[in-house]
C-alpha cells in the first residue's frame, strides 16, 4: 500500500490530462461505435453549413459578405466553440453532478475542482465539430478575397485562441450559474450555442443593439467578428476605432478573469445536496 504521506496534490494540468485520458481510452475501446459517432457528428454539423449554402443559392451576399467570407466567420466561430467544447465542454454538465450530489466526490480529491469538472466525461467524439468547422474555415481562408499581410495571417491563430477562451468564459459563467439555478441550465445554451449561431453570420445582418450587446455585455463579437473585420478589411458596423479590432486578447483575458471569479464564488457557496 502506498504511503499516505507520498500523496501530493496533483497540479491542475496533469489532473486534467489524467482524467481526460482515462475517458478517451474508455471511448476508444468501442472503436466502431466511436467512428460511427464521429461520422454522424460530422454529418450533423455539415448539414448546418448546407443551410447557409442554400441561402447563398438565393442571394449573392448576406449583409455585404460573400459565401467564402461567411464561411470564414462560420469556420472561426465553430472551431473556437469546437476546441472549447472538446477541452472544457463537460463543465456545462455540472448541474447534474450538483443535483445528484456526486460533486462531493470531486471535492474530497486532492485536486482542484475546475480541471476535474472540465475533464469529467471528456468526449473525444467532440472532435467532429472541430473537424467540420476547421474544414469550412480552410475553405473560407482559401476562397475569400483577402489581401494577405503578415498581420492578417497572424490574426487567424490569435482569433481562434481568443475565441476558444471567450467561449470557455461563457461556459464557466454558465456552470457557475448552475450552482444556484440548477433546473434553468438551458439558459446557458442561448449564450453558448446561440452565441455560436450569432457569430456565424456577419455582424452587419443584426440590429445595432444586438451587436452592441455582443461587444460590450457578453463579448462574443471578439470571438470572430472584430478580428475578422481586420482580416477582411470590412467597415465596422458600430463605427468603433480601428484599434478595437485587435482587442480580442485583452477582452478574452478580462472575461475569463470575471468568469473565474464567478466560478470561485459559486464553489464557495456550494452546499451539498446532503444525504
Amino acid at each position: 500500500m502506498a504511503d499516505i504521506r507520498a500523496v501530493r496534490p496533483l497540479n491542475p494540468v496533469s489532473a486534467y490530462l489524467a482524467v481526460a485520458g482515462m475517458w478517451a481510452r474508455s471511448a476508444l475501446v468501442y472503436r466502431l461505435n466511436f467512428v460511427l459517432v464521429v461520422v454522424v457528428g460530422l454529418l450533423v454539423n455539415g448539414v448546418e453549413f448546407i443551410g447557409i449554402v442554400f441561402m447563398f443559392m438565393n442571394v449573392p451576399a448576406l449583409g455585404g459578405y460573400s459565401l467564402p467570407e461567411v464561411a470564414l466567420l462560420y469556420g472561426a466561430s465553430g472551431t473556437a466553440l469546437g476546441l472549447c467544447d472538446l477541452l472544457f465542454g463537460s463543465i456545462e454538465k455540472i448541474g447534474s453532478r450538483i443535483r445528484d450530489g456526486s460533486l462531493d466526490t470531486f471535492l474530497v480529491r486532492p485536486v482542484r475542482l475546475y480541471p476535474q469538472a472540465a475533464a469529467d466525461q471528456f468526449a473525444l467524439r467532440r472532435l467532429n465539430r472541430l473537424i467540420q468547422a476547421g474544414g469550412v474555415l480552410v475553405y473560407g481562408l482559401v476562397a475569400a478575397d483577402v489581401h494577405w499581410t503578415w498581420g492578417r495571417a497572424l490574426m487567424i491563430p490569435v482569433m481562434l485562441i481568443c475565441g476558444t477562451a471567450i467561449f470557455e468564459g461563457v461556459f464557466t459563467l454558465g456552470a457557475a450559474f448552475q450552482f444556484w439555478a440548477q433546473d434553468a441550465a438551458e439558459v446557458q445554451n442561448a449564450f453558448t450555442y446561440g452565441g455560436n449561431y450569432l457569430t456565424q453570420y456577419p455582424p452587419t445582418v443584426f440590429a445595432k443593439e444586438m451587436v452592441r450587446g455582443a461587444v460590450f455585455v457578453i463579448p462574443l463579437a471578439f470571438v470572430d467578428w472584430w478580428p475578422a473585420l481586420y482580416v477582411l478589411g470590412k467597415p465596422d458596423p458600430l463605427g468603433l476605432p480601428a484599434w478595437t479590432h485587435f482587442l480580442s486578447p485583452v477582452v478574452a483575458g478580462a472575461f475569463c478573469g470575471i468568469a473565474a471569479l464567478a466560478w470561485r464564488a459559486a464553489v464557495r457557496g456550494y452546499r451539498s445536496t446532503g444525504s
Binding site: G51, F54, M57, L62, D183, A184, E186, N189, M210
Partner: protein
C-alpha cells in the same frame, strides 16, 4: 375496478401534463433560449428577404412569422427528439419496459398518451411566449380569422402525431441496439433538415424542395406554418396538406405497431 380505456389514457396524459408543469425553472429557461434563437434567426432571414423580397413566395413578415412560430413549435413537436419517448428509451435500456408490457394496455397508445400530455403542457408554456414576444418586436403576419388558427392547430397536432411515430420507432430500435445514440442522432439530423427548422423548405433548391415537401418531416414545421400563412396553394391547398399529414401519421403509426409486435415476440429484454 376496470377503467374504461379512453379514460385511462386521459388520466395518463393528465399525469404527464402535471409532471411537466412542475419543471418551472426549466420551462422558463427553455422559453428564454427559444426566444433568443428566434431573434438571431429573424435577423438572418431579414437579411435574405431584404435582398429577395418575395423569396419562396413569402414576404419578409411571413418569413419572420415562420421563425417565431417555428421556435414556438420547437419543444411542442420535438423535431430533434426528446419528449416522452426519451423516457421510453431509458426503460428499454434498463429493462423496465417489461413492466410496461405486463400492463393490460397497448404500449404505443400508452406512450402516445404520455407524449400528448407533455405536448399539451409545452404548447401552453413554451409554445405561446416566443410568438408573443416576436409579435411585440416585429411585424408578423398572424391571421385574424379564427378558422385559420384552428386549421393551424389541427395541422400542428398532425405534425406532433408524425413526430411521435418517428420518435417511437427510434425508441423501438433500442430493443435491438441497446445504445440508441446513433439512431437518435440520425433522426435528429433528418428532422432538423427536412422539417424546415434549419431553413424554410420553400427556399430549398429545385427538386430537393419538391421531395422535401412530401416527406413526413415537412408536416412537423413547414406545413403547419404554411397553413397559418395560407401559402398552401402549391401543396394542394389546406385539404392537400392535411391529407398528406394524415397519410404519414397513419403509415408511421401502423409501422410502429408492426415493429412493436416483432420486438415483443423476438427480442430478449435487458435484465432477463
Amino acid at each position: 375496478m376496470r377503467l374504461h380505456a379512453a379514460r385511462l389514457y386521459r388520466t395518463v396524459a393528465a399525469g404527464t401534463f402535471r409532471r411537466y408543469s412542475t419543471y418551472r425553472a426549466a420551462t422558463i429557461a427553455g422559453v428564454f433560449t427559444n426566444t433568443v434563437f428566434g431573434f438571431i434567426m429573424a435577423y438572418t432571414y431579414l437579411a435574405l428577404w431584404n435582398v429577395r423580397p418575395h423569396l419562396g413566395g413569402y414576404t419578409a413578415s411571413d418569413a419572420l412569422t415562420y421563425v417565431f412560430i417555428g421556435q414556438s413549435l420547437f419543444a411542442v413537436v420535438a423535431v430533434f427528439g426528446g419528449g416522452a419517448t426519451d423516457d421510453m428509451i431509458g426503460r428499454i435500456r434498463s429493462g423496465d419496459i417489461s413492466v410496461d408490457l405486463y400492463r393490460p394496455v397497448d404500449l404505443q397508445t400508452w406512450w402516445l398518451a404520455t407524449d400528448l400530455g407533455r405536448a399539451a403542457f409545452q404548447f401552453l408554456a413554451r409554445g405561446i411566449p416566443p410568438t408573443v414576444v416576436g409579435a411585440l418586436a416585429f411585424h408578423l403576419s398572424l391571421p385574424s380569422d379564427p378558422l385559420v388558427w384552428l386549421a393551424f392547430l389541427l395541422s400542428a397536432f398532425l405534425g406532433l402525431l408524425v413526430s411521435f411515430s418517428v420518435r417511437y420507432l427510434v425508441a423501438l430500435s433500442g430493443f435491438w441496439l441497446i445504445d440508441t445514440s446513433g439512431t437518435q442522432a440520425a433522426a435528429g439530423i433528418l428532422g432538423m433538415f427536412f422539417s424546415g427548422q434549419l431553413l424554410p423548405l420553400n427556399i430549398f433548391p429545385g427538386a430537393l424542395k419538391q421531395i422535401a415537401m412530401l416527406l413526413p418531416w415537412a408536416g412537423m414545421q413547414q406545413l403547419p406554418i404554411d397553413v397559418l400563412l395560407r401559402t398552401t396553394a402549391s401543396l394542394g391547398g389546406l385539404g392537400g396538406v392535411l391529407a398528406l399529414q394524415v397519410t404519414w401519421a397513419a403509415v408511421l403509426l401502423a409501422l410502429g405497431r408492426l415493429v412493436t409486435a416483432t420486438a415483443v415476440r423476438k427480442v430478449v429484454f435487458q435484465g432477463g
